[in-house]
Symmetry: C3
Subunit: 135 residues, 3 copies
């Protein structure tokens, strides 16, 4: 049987694809700090690493942080880490004006006990201006 | 560089946009009761407030509760509050026939300890009938 | 007032639609083992049941497991059940090459205490090859 699909998957293994693209949208798998961070890797450090990985995957998919539609953020300890995560998040968004996505942040334990934050991102692919020179 | 996007964001600040619209879809940020509800604001009261805010944001985005595709519901205490949330939820949907979205409900602690419920909603923009008078 | 929508809902009740279709996408409500599994229904058994229900609903919606864009997986006890869930998940995906979706897995208590796993799936409807015989 001929297998046909318009879904584009990148960095696929038996369990997960890091990037899935379809219909002009880019879906990233949940992003965490790599492997098992040391127990004392703080929320600022882990959030920065997560966002760097989001940047890299979005770039690969022809998108960028200004094109995120939604982000779901999971924090292992929301009371302890909400403010610390937000400080890094807001600095990351601040390079451009008003690009914040629709966001939901809740508490959840993650796959490895040392992980403090995980983010699930849906973005759009890069759009070219119909009139790039302006008028 | 010319910055161009077809993403429309409303009520944006440094952290979040309450409404993001793209491709005919409306994405709301996670909705909770406002600020820090008093510790004894029950699940019925908080659910009603969340749904009123969903109504208001969807109206602003040219949508309404009959056009929701998916809702993710987070409850701080699912054993205690599942039934109470559902009673208000079902009454809210009951104004129209068969409009219930695909829904997922799980337990999660939320950004403020007094919050009992948060909802993430994806809807479609209002559609005009191709034949509004019927035939 | 004439009510018009292009949203297609299946298995709808006052609370939920099991399948929602719109714009070529299929949204399933959170899938769990049926009813209240016995307290000793293990993670392998529950994961297999969840995936069988996903298969059945996707088939009804004109889709299948090779057309899933994203899956969010909630485990009641991620430390205990992550490996067991993954074993069943990977076997389920292994019938075809490289079909893994963008996935996020977090810990969350579910609607019934005996439930160990819940999955939320977004897929695309079946596509016909523009050139089904190959060339």
């Amino acid at each position: 049987m001929t297998y046909f699909t318009t879904i584009q998957r990148t960095h696929s293994n038996a369990r997960i694809s890091k990037i899935v693209r379809h219909g002009g949208l880019v879906y990233l798998c949940g992003q965490t700090a790599k492997g098992s961070p040391s127990a004392d890797a703080g929320i600022a450090e882990q959030t920065a690493e997560v966002l760097a990985r989001v940047d890299a995957l979005l770039a690969e998919a022809g998108s960028d942080r200004s094109r995120i539609l939604t982000t779901t953020i999971y924090l292992r300890d929301i009371a302890a880490d909400f403010a610390g995560m937000n400080a890094v998040w807001e600095a990351w968004l601040a390079d451009r004006k008003a690009i914040a996505p629709a966001r939901t942040t809740v508490q959840a334990a993650l796959a490895t006990a040392s992980l403090r934050v995980e983010m699930t991102v849906v973005a759009i692919e890069n759009e070219r201006s119909p009139n790039p020179q302006g008028s």
